[in-house]
């Protein structure tokens, strides 16, 4: 039991921080520009694939730097030559546009790299078990992911609270209209934030690729979860995104480990369920099996009972 | 006799700043009442409180004796209060005729009907044409509202407001941004359409108010400092100092 809790906590932390790397960029972009970037998870996937190709040519470590930069450039280009033109048609049109971009990125990944998984691996130097507890290994690569995520988190915190650009961004989040009047080059800031947010997504892809697999569906697996994170955390709230990332990270990893169903619960309190009932699935499905829908269930519950999200101020 | 609109010790704060500081006001049935005041006096806030866009911090609002404090906008509208907006607020992608018709549907009891053809609702269509005629926009009936000129959109805004036939009409600076002749036309229009109705209007332009209102209330720093017939207000020294004096600067 203790083993399960410790490892679920660790894995939840790794996964949660990965989610935050994605949701922080998404939240920044949404807060400043009002744009929900549907293509965010696609950029995450693009990061993983680019890093894979780079790792084949010149190794894992250069890929760790180059791939996110390339994704950042792609993001900045999307903003500069796509989004900005669509902006005049309103937020819904922008959302539709990013949906189209997501579709295109996903198709192009398949066009270039094929429909199969690619064998993107962690570097030799990190493929050993860091420690072994109760007979279960904890891979060093996961510790590496954790370290990168924490480093990014701290860097983001420092940039936002200590630097000039960070102050402008913070101001733009709370008072988007006034910042423009202060004479800052808002379009440039937008392109920059979009680029940096994309690069963060790319970096998340680079480090997640070897651990979670690099395949054409990897954007779809995470894409909607990241949206759930930013709604549950509260739209436009970075702190909320952080809390929700960890919460959902934990929720999903713990759910996987719980192999009980309603039937077991009923049995424990002495109720037997009919095997022929049409609702039999409801009883026999284990928590581990419904793991994938838990975040969405959480989303629905949040919307009904706390429409502002956990830490948000804007009414959904 | 109950008043059409009654405000009892109405207060509204934004953060720690109290914008409306205890307003008491009664507007009788059939009265044309204007609320005037210098910029920043809280006119728009007061207006938005009465029309349920804002929720008051304290106090009550009654519409013909019924408490409407903190009711939803559509509920208040259904109880017979209709409002216009200071910033033009229309349905830009729909035709002028449809804009007015939307204003009439609920009041004429078609509500959430999804089985009747709007083009065959003769009473609604007649009413809408009548309103278009009143606001002088029959020739523009089929034009999308979004392409109208500013003055036309303002007139349409009033058309939507009165289309439901509400007995209590609130207008927010109906002549804002208009030139002299447009203003005169609008005043004439407002006079015509509020015949036998209760009108409350917030207005900055003094000439509009003195020509139109039966009674005037002067709002300064969130409080009503005087209320009475136009002549009395004109002669009131406190008003002159707070408002007219400031205006002369």
């Amino acid at each position: 039991m203790l083993e399960l809790i410790v490892f679920s906590l660790l894995n939840g932390l790794v996964y949660g921080l990965l989610l935050f790397m994605l949701s922080s960029g998404l939240t920044l972009i949404f807060s400043m520009m009002g744009v929900l970037n549907f293509a965010h998870a696609s950029l995450y996937m693009l990061g993983a694939y680019l890093a894979y190709t780079i790792s084949l040519k010149i190794g894992f470590w250069p890929g760790l730097i180059i791939a996110p930069l390339l994704v950042g450039v792609v993001g900045a280009l999307i903003e500069r030559y796509g989004l900005r033109n669509v902006h005049r048609y309103g937020h819904v049109a922008e959302l539709i546009f990013t949906f189209g971009v997501a579709f295109l990125i996903e198709e192009s990944v398949q066009l270039v790299w094929g429909r199969q998984n690619v064998d993107y691996r962690e570097p030799e130097i990190l493929s050993f078990p860091l420690f072994t507890l109760w007979g279960t290994d904890f891979p060093a690569y996961k510790a590496f992911m954790l370290a990168i995520s924490v480093a990014i988190f701290i860097a983001l915190l420092l940039v936002l609270t200590r630097s000039r650009v960070g102050l402008i961004i913070q101001a733009a989040i709370t008072h988007p209209n006034q910042v423009a009047m202060l004479g800052h080059n808002v379009p440039l800031v937008f392109t920059g934030v979009f680029g940096v947010g994309s690069a963060l997504a790319g970096l998340a892809g680079v480090i997640a690729g070897p651990a979670l697999g690099t395949f054409p569906g990897m954007a779809a697996v995470l894409g909607s979860i990241v949206f759930v994170v930013i709604v549950v955390g509260g739209l436009g709230s970075l702190a909320g995104a952080f809390v929700a990332s960890l919460l959902i990270g934990m929720l999903q990893t713990f759910a996987v480990a719980v192999d009980y169903s309603l039937e077991d619960l009923f049995a424990a309190v002495g109720i037997t369920t009919s095997k022929t009932s049409a609702l039999i699935d409801l009883y026999t499905v284990t928590v581990a099996q419904i793991g994938p829908i838990l975040p969405y269930l959480l989303l629905v519950l949040i919307l009904i009972f706390r429409p502002t999200g956990l830490l948000g101020k804007r009414e959904v | 006799m109950t008043a059409a609109i009654e405000l009892v010790d109405l207060r509204k704060s934004f953060g720690s700043t109290e914008i409306i500081r205890g307003v008491n006001l009664e507007v009788g049935e059939g009265e044309r009442h204007a609320v005037i005041g210098p910029n920043g006096a809280g006119k728009s806030t007061l207006y938005n409180l009465i029309t349920a866009k804002y929720v008051p911090t304290a106090g009550r609002i009654r519409l013909r004796g019924q408490d409407i404090t903190a009711r939803k906008p559509y509920e208040i509208n259904r109880m017979g209060l209709s409002r216009s907006f200071q910033v033009t607020n229309i349905f830009p992608r729909m035709s002028v005729f449809e804009n007015v018709r939307c204003g009439a549907l609920w009041a004429m009891n078609y509500r959430y009907s999804f089985w009747q053809d709007v083009d065959r609702l003769d009473d609604v269509n007649e009413r809408s044409l009548q309103i278009l005629n009143d606001i002088g926009m029959v020739p523009r009936a089929d034009v999308p509202a979004g392409v109208l000129s500013y003055a036309e959109q303002r007139a349409l805004e009033i058309g939507i407001t009165i289309a439901g036939g509400a007995n209590v009409v609130l207008l927010d600076e109906p002549t804002a941004g208009m030139n002299r002749s447009e203003t005169d036309q609008t005043v004439e229009l407002v006079r015509r359409i509020t015949e036998n109705k209760t009108l409350i209007m917030v207005e900055h332009d003094m000439s509009v108010v003195f020509g139109l209102a039966d009674r005037i209330s002067v709002l300064v720093y969130g409080e009503i400092i005087a209320s009475g017939p136009p002549d009395e207000i004109r002669g009131n020294p406190a008003v002159r100092e707070a408002y007219l004096g400031a205006e002369a600067d």
Partner: protein, 428 residues
Amino acid sequence: MSAIAPTSPRTGGTFLRRNAIWWVALLFVLLLPQVARSGTSIAVLNQMCIMVIFSLSYNMLLGQGGMLSFGHAVYFGLGGYFTIHLMKMASGGFFMPLPLVPLAGGLAGLLFGLLFGSFSTNRAGTVFAMISLGIGEMIAASSLIFVKFSGGEEGITADRTDLTSLFGIRFRSEVDVYYLIAAWMVLSAWLMYRFSRTPVGRMANAVRDNPERAEFVGYSQKHVRLLSFMGAGFFAGIAGGLFAVNYEIVTEETVNLVSSGTVLLQSYIGGVGFFAGPIVGAIVYTLLQTLLSNYTEIWAFYVGLIFVATVMYAPTGLTGIIMMHLPIYRAGKLRSLALPYLRIGVPALCCTIGVIGLLELLHFLSVRAVGQSTKRLFWLTLNVEQPFAWIIFSVLAVGGFLVARRVAPSVLAAWEAASLHAFGGRAR
């Protein structure tokens, strides 16, 4: 953006005349199998008709109500599941003629629309879009978990010929099913059009344009949206039911996000600002899908490109482009546009050929067998290892794009001149 079904309150006439276009449409779809006889073309027509209903229902949300949904397949798929279960049960023997079973799908769509709409229609815009995505994911994931109901990845199958026969028709052939689907399509389209002309339908437009103002004429924006949402759910469910009848199988693929994305794609390409837009979109999309997939594996990429180009350069969709030319055509000024269109058409075509060439070569590189170095494209045999083909296509793509962009303003000016003339100098 202007022409959302022109309004004239002064229409009259008999039932027959008022609905003339619908009778023509009905006649047309009923005669269509006489022209397109082959099995494949009937199959394509069936799919097309189902997609027309689905897209029209989608446009009750996006075009009419201003609600961007990323999860509309929920109602399509659930409609399909409920219909296929009804078909399975009915083949056990109770009276249930096949033409009525899509109603089960419709009701399922309606009820789930009520359920999910009750907490997602408070606001439109981005927030609504996100909630719809969440619900879509939830239902798609559930359909893989609750295997008893959904059959998991294999799905649920049924045999439509087991149902009660009506006047001896057992719907064994595709053509029989076509008539059933086509009749439902015309009926659904007619009902959806009528809905858009009711007080609620008009207020859906009003709420889309300006929710605040709509509240101040007595309507709750939420209730108006919810009604549209339920209606959209109902007709999506009908479409799903027809899907079940047609394919006799319903799988997770009907309910998932790809399906939701497809309906957005085709509606938008067709043009969401017009009632007929989604119809055009569904027809074009189905044709693209069936024709392009014969020639290229990356057809979806091309559809994506068309979609993004539509969002960026022609947000009113194909129907919008047609409508832009209607007054010019009526004024007999279409010929004045021939030359300008030729001027932009040629470079645009070059650009398209270049882009297609590059994409196909790129794709070929990733899928080719070892040692294979030539690809047949445009009746040419190209060697991907030589730079020649790459250079040619790059030049065509970039050059075509640059020239097209250069002449675009003059073409636009020509169009403006023509349409100004068509409107007799009045502003559009």
